[in-house]
């Protein structure tokens, strides 16, 4: 028996694409989205689709010799709307989709770029436009589209340390022009938090399983919550407001659902406490983080430590037979999301009653 205000997740449109797809992103300020994928012959594609009254219409297709893996509009203004992509060979490109041309291209990574995130393009007073890329070569690089060729920051293992495959990167804590944090998740379960202001490693821990996806609930506020999803159906939610010098951050772990790898977790742009996880069995789950009464406690030595909240599952729905590897909420319309899965379908998901939460 469902409650009255329980959100529903509905697959609004399903569209088959006859090749592998890895990522999808809404084009800001439009009813269009980009699907990033690769053709069987190994070339990469960028396809622009538009939704018009229940239909998906392809507007544009760009093909390149190397498969694309990931993309972001985060470092671009809403007017320019330039897509930054990472490909299988380690090339970072920035695309002007209107003109179908690259405006920036650099190959500093030696292997596939697994993950990309951008920030600073359209929000004022939250720092420079920057792109962060995580690659199999073990490095995490931060780029500024205004600086050609070379990254503005490079995080790599020390000499002698084994290089781990970086699977996930994301920005956060960028509440003014100088503060900014990059979180990187690795295949061995390492989760590292780099402070770009001090250029240092702020915190790290091991989640035991490879980290598939990380995301702050908001990028442009003092960091609040961080979600990291892993293999074997687990995900961690950290309260990153309060850092204890010894214990680190308080966290909630959900490992109840036996849904396989959780590929991605994405917060609803309009409500930072609700997020959707996409699992390897094709299931999407909508979660709500419920804060505890007090978010931190101060012990007798005057050191504060965070208090974890609770996770409540609002809804779940199997929408695909194959893992859902990417999802993007629309920034402009509550409850609208696009998802790609390994069954080569791109889906427009609609979630109702989110405003009631």
């Amino acid at each position: 028996m469902e409650e009255l205000e329980t959100p529903q997740i509905i697959t609004h449109i399903e569209h088959n694409i006859n090749h592998s797809i890895f990522d999808c992103k809404w084009i800001p300020c439009s009813a269009k989205f980009v699907v990033i994928g690769s053709l069987p012959k190994g070339s990469g594609t960028l396809e622009v689709f538009e939704i018009t009254s229940g239909e998906i219409r392809k507007i544009k297709e760009i093909e390149r010799p190397n498969s694309f893996k990931c993309g972001t509009f985060g470092a671009s203004s809403d007017v320019e709307r330039r897509l930054a992509t990472g490909d299988f060979k380690g090339t970072l490109e920035i695309w002007d989709l209107e003109k179908s041309c690259q405006v920036y291209i650099t190959k500093e990574h030696t292997d596939i770029i697994n993950s990309i995130d951008g920030l600073g393009g359209n929000i004022v007073n939250c720092g420079a436009p920057e792109i962060v890329t995580g690659s199999r070569d073990g490095t995490v690089k931060v780029w500024d589209p205004r600086q050609r060729g070379k990254p503005v920051a490079n995080m790599q293992p020390m000499k002698g340390e084994t290089k781990r495959d970086c699977w996930a990167v994301s920005f956060g804590n960028s509440f003014n022009d100088s503060e900014r944090i990059v979180v990187a998740g690795y295949d061995n379960g390492d989760l590292k938090m780099f402070d770009l202001r001090t250029m240092s490693l702020r915190w790290e821990c091991n989640l035991k399983n490879g980290v598939c996806s990380t995301e702050f609930d908001r990028k442009d506020i003092p960091m609040n919550k961080l979600v990291a999803t892993t293999l074997e159906g687990k995900f961690h939610v950290f309260d990153v407001r309060t850092q204890n010098p010894t214990k680190g951050f308080a966290q909630v772990l959900d490992n109840a659902s036996k849904s396989g790898t959780i590929w991605v977790a994405r917060h609803v742009p309009q409500n930072r406490d609700i997020f959707l996880t996409c699992a390897g069995n094709g299931q999407v789950s909508l979660w709500k983080y419920e804060y505890p009464e007090h978010r931190y406690v101060v012990d007798n030595q005057g050191v504060s430590s965070g208090v974890p909240g609770k996770l409540r599952r609002l809804q779940r729905m199997v929408i695909s037979t194959q893992p859902i590897n990417a999802l993007d909420w629309n920034r402009d319309h509550l409850g609208l999301a696009v998802a790609t899965a390994y069954d080569q379908y791109v889906r427009i998901l609609v979630t109702t009653k989110l405003n009631l939460q």
């Binding site: 028996m1 509905i10 439009s30 009813a31 500024d144 609609v350 109702t352």
Partner: protein, 505 residues
């Protein structure tokens, strides 16, 4: 039962929620498309600097080494002190090195000012249409403040003043506009109107004449001019006598038009004549050669000829010697065209004393040769050196082209035994025939050596090929030479036979 109701309600609610959501979505789609269309524009944002450059971009304070102060008592240092340089440095500091960047920004600033002024002008124009003269004038004032060199703003303000009957101001504005743009018809017309109403009819008619000069079919100007002329006709005497009409304004236009009438032609012509005098060389003992201007189709089509330059010692520029340049050219032509026919003649005359010289003889080649040979001889006797290789020989040979005597001289100083080594394999058939001719013509000078020359020539590499190209006349000369050898030099019969064989006679 209640539960069933609830479920039913739930389903209905959900369906309704979804439906409203979908309509929302469609509206949103439409709105998004509209918004997106409006998005196309420049986006400027004040961005923080690139991360890695943050430190670098701090203003670099160039610490200048404080210049040593020279003590008042240190006289030797003060003696060395370059005052001019120091002054220059101080000046430069004030100006600062003008970089391209600042120039660019300056241009951009100007562009912006211009835009703003244009905007003010537009506003002023609308005020003019509404006949709000004062507002329009203030707009034009601002425009002029922003951009001082645009005639339009002045002319428009002039119009406003005219409408407000501020005739003097109108006139001065129009004058300014005309100064900035002397072809600005409207400014002339407005000034004419202003002047007409000020009473200075002549100046007004002058302005109108200018208008008609620029626009001959300007009807309104013509009408105005006619009206003014009519007024002048009736009023002319009156206005002169009456001091009421503003004298200052009257006098100004009176002098103004008279100014351009002072034509500076006389002074110019004087200058020119002085120049001409100098150009023509009058008063100097110089013959001036004037450039000849011919249209291309009338110009000579003969190719230019290379002229050997002779060194003549400084003191030796004897005026009685005719300009040899011309002569040499003529000889070239002669030798080229006439070939061998006049060789004998020239030879004969070469020995004769110089009896002819001067310009008149150009036509006769013999006399010319005589002269030039004479000239060259003087020098050749001193300078000729036996060559050591074919290059030296050929350069000298070419230099002596046409001077058979000199060539003969040159040939005679060459040791016959060295001929094969000099020429190696570079003997050419025309050179060979020349040599043969010289030997033939000047047999006495090579007394006793002709056979040796012939023998050595035949020893030059690849001679057999050269022998094949000998002309009949050459062969004739050869037989004569061999006869000479047999008769005079008592050359061995075998040798002669051998030579005959080699020369393919």
């Amino acid at each position: 039962m209640e539960k069933a109701f609830e479920i039913q309600k739930q389903v209905r609610d959900n369906a309704k929620a979804l439906q409203t959501y979908m309509t929302d979505l469609q509206n949103w789609e439409a709105e998004m498309k509209r918004k997106e269309a409006a998005l196309n524009g420049e986006f400027e944002q004040d961005l923080p600097p690139v991360r890695s450059k943050v430190k670098k971009e701090r203003p670099v304070v160039v610490k200048k080494k404080p210049e040593k102060k020279i003590k008042g008592s240190d006289y030797s240092s003060w003696d060395k002190y370059d005052v001019d340089k120091a002054c220059e440095e101080v000046d430069m500091q004030d100006i600062g090195p003008s970089s391209l960047d600042s120039k660019k920004s300056h241009l951009a600033k100007l562009e912006k000012l211009r835009e703003e002024a244009q905007y003010e002008k537009e506003r002023g124009n609308t005020f003019v249409k509404q006949e709000k003269w004062d507002d329009a004038i203030s707009c034009y004032n601002r425009a002029i403040e922003l951009v001082r060199d645009d005639a339009i703003y002045y002319a428009n303000r002039g119009l406003c003043f005219l409408k407000k009957d501020s005739l003097h101001l109108a006139e001065s504005d129009c004058s300014e506009a005309i100064r900035l743009d002397p072809t600005y018809v409207k400014a002339y017309q407005r000034r004419a109107t202003a002047r007409e109403r000020l009473g200075s009819l002549r100046a007004a008619s002058h302005d109108l004449n200018e208008v008609l000069k620029l626009e001959p079919h300007n009807n309104s100007a013509r009408k105005q001019l006619d009206a003014i002329k009519a007024r002048m006709g009736t009023k002319g005497a009156k206005s002169k006598s009456s001091p009421s009409s503003t004298p200052t304004v009257e006098s100004k236009p009176l002098t103004k038009p008279s100014q351009p009438k002072i034509v500076e032609l006389p002074t110019e012509s004087k200058l020119v004549s002085a120049d001409d005098q100098w150009r023509n060389g009058t008063g100097e003992s110089v013959m001036v050669i004037k450039p000849v201007k011919k249209p291309p189709h009338l110009r000579s089509k003969r190719p230019l000829k290379s002229i050997p330059i002779q060194e003549i010692q400084l003191g030796k520029t004897t005026p009685e010697k005719p300009p040899t340049r011309l002569k040499i050219i003529e000889i070239d032509e002669q030798t080229q065209t006439h070939g061998d026919s006049n060789n004998n003649d020239s030879n004969k005359i070469a020995d004769a004393p110089k009896n002819t010289k001067g310009e008149g003889d150009v036509a006769s080649p013999e006399s010319v040769k005589l002269v030039t040979d004479g000239v060259v001889k003087e020098k050749d006797a001193k300078t000729l050196v036996p060559p050591t290789n074919s290059v030296q020989f050929m350069s000298e040979w070419k230099y002596l082209k046409g001077q058979w005597d000199a060539r003969c001289e040159y040939l005679s100083i060459i040791e016959p035994s060295k001929i094969p080594s000099i020429f190696a394999n570079a003997l050419e058939s025309d050179v060979l025939s020349d040599v043969l001719r010289i030997l033939h013509d000047n047999t006495p000078r090579f007394a006793g050596r002709v056979a040796a020359y012939l023998a050595q020539l035949s020893n030059v590499k690849r001679f057999s090929a050269l022998a094949m190209f000998l002309s009949p006349s050459d062969k004739e000369m050869l037989t004569k030479l061999l006869d000479h050898c047999k008769a005079v030099e008592n050359t061995n019969e075998d040798v002669i036979a051998d030579l005959k064989n080699k020369y393919e006679l």
